[in-house]
């Protein structure tokens, strides 16, 4: 569950940065930042899951909506 939530978030971060003007350099910047975020997000998500299942479910819904919209 933590991976399912974190990976799309990291991917969205990368795509948002990559979408900025700057070409391939911004893609690289996005990848540098997203890769640093990904493990942190997984750990945070995993630790938060016990206490905040509602937040995680909301996150999942947001990601699915994001996927459908993108």
């Amino acid at each position: 569950m933590a991976c399912l939530v974190s990976y799309p978030v990291a991917h969205f971060v990368m795509m948002d940065i990559a979408g900025m003007p700057g070409g391939n350099a911004m893609v690289q910047l996005g990848q540098i930042i997203a890769l640093a975020c990904l493990p942190v997000l997984i750990v945070l998500c995993f630790s938060a899951y016990a206490a905040l299942p509602g937040v995680c479910i909301a996150g999942c819904v947001a990601i699915i909506v994001g996927l459908l919209v993108s």
Binding site: A18, Q28, G30, L35, I42, V43, F46, S47, L67, S70
Partner: protein
Amino acid sequence: MRETLRTRMGWLHGWAGFLVGLLAVCIFMTGTLSVFDTEITRWMQPENQVPANAPLTGTALNAASSLIHEQQVHGASVFLTLPSARSPTIDVLHYDGRQFVGTLLDPRTGTPVPVRATMGGTFFFSFHYTLLEGTTGTRIVNIVGVILLVAIGSGIVIHIRALVPDIIRLRLSAARLRGWLDAHLLVGVLFLPFTIMIIYTGVLVNVGLILPATPLTDLFVHEKPQTIPASDTRAAPDIPLPLPPLAPLLATARNSLQGRDAGFILFSPDHLSIYASDASGPFLTRDHVDFHLPDGHLLGTTTTPGHIAHTMQVMHGLHYARFACLDLRWLYFVSGLCATAMIASGLVLFLMKRRSRSGHRIGFRVGESLTITTLTGLPVSILAFLWCNRLLPASMVGRDRMEVACFLGIWILCTGHASLCASGRCMNRAWGPQLRLIALLGGGLPVLDILACPRAVYNLPAIHAAIDGTGLLAAVIALSVRRRLEGDGK
């Protein structure tokens, strides 16, 4: 609440660490050996006795040009690597579908150096990042890297309160489990900066495989095989254009690359490109200078400007460590060994903690046999790979494939042995023989090397001493672990 968090993190650290740790040990062990891949290749080709820093002459470059032209006439797509401090020969290479093969030339005279066919140190390098499975393997390695970072993150959360105060704490006289835990924590915390740096930069090298710059929805679309449009297909010229003298081009390239040495030359039908050496600095660039063929006039210099590109280059440079001097290379090697030891001790701890509760379960026994296969089976097969290099006849056809077959065969045998012992519930009997085998093969490596290639040992003592010494070190470690195991069994 805090205890709950620690418990949850403990579960994540244990399971994520164990499941990817089995592969991570293989990746780290072969990666550590790859720090000296060129030196291992030299050890595995004892016929190559060209001294380091032998001067590069115009005669040798002309001989290389002739050879390249000859091979281009036969349709081969070749490139040329120039001599460096680590590899003193001029190499005219092409890719045969599995590895780079070709002719080595003496940089002083241009005469070919007859060497045995071997996978060399590049075998460890390709195993390290592909697991011998191509792009799929690289993707798996990247996923393992990310999960390892997760395991490290959760480990930090578990240990955060004692991270600094206990940074140099090791209790050898404590209970066995406590001793292993201290060793795991000690190596883990002290080598944390190196471990995080090497995993992060390693994943970043091929980050496009796990974080592609395409919308997520595209990942589910089946990729169509690429077809080359008919208009793009150009018939290759029948006879390739002759090459101009390379020495003046190298001098021009050096000036255009701000004094950086040239590393290798690629040849296209109408131009050639001289690339900056990876050893020229921590920025691993692909800056190059293009020259027109056949007259050799300068076409232009290609560099990658910008802070982001430089950041990426430095990340790649830090991981590959091709810029590193010998001292720093040894520090990478020692740090790599300690990072491997950290993961290995984690695997052992995971099993020790669960032995009393789940020792009888089949899952546990499979886990333990896989751990034995990784921790002792892999060193056995690496040493067998080196032994094979010395024992197989130098002129044997397909000996490089035979070396790999031997490596994989021995590893499969070790797996079979560990599985057999696991089915008989006598795991200590599995560790013992494999540790003895490491001691035998590692301890015997210097003897075999001296007996098989005395001239090479005499001419290149540093390389042979280092690799044979590493074999001896493996033997000593294996013997001491075995003695400890026997002590525990009594």
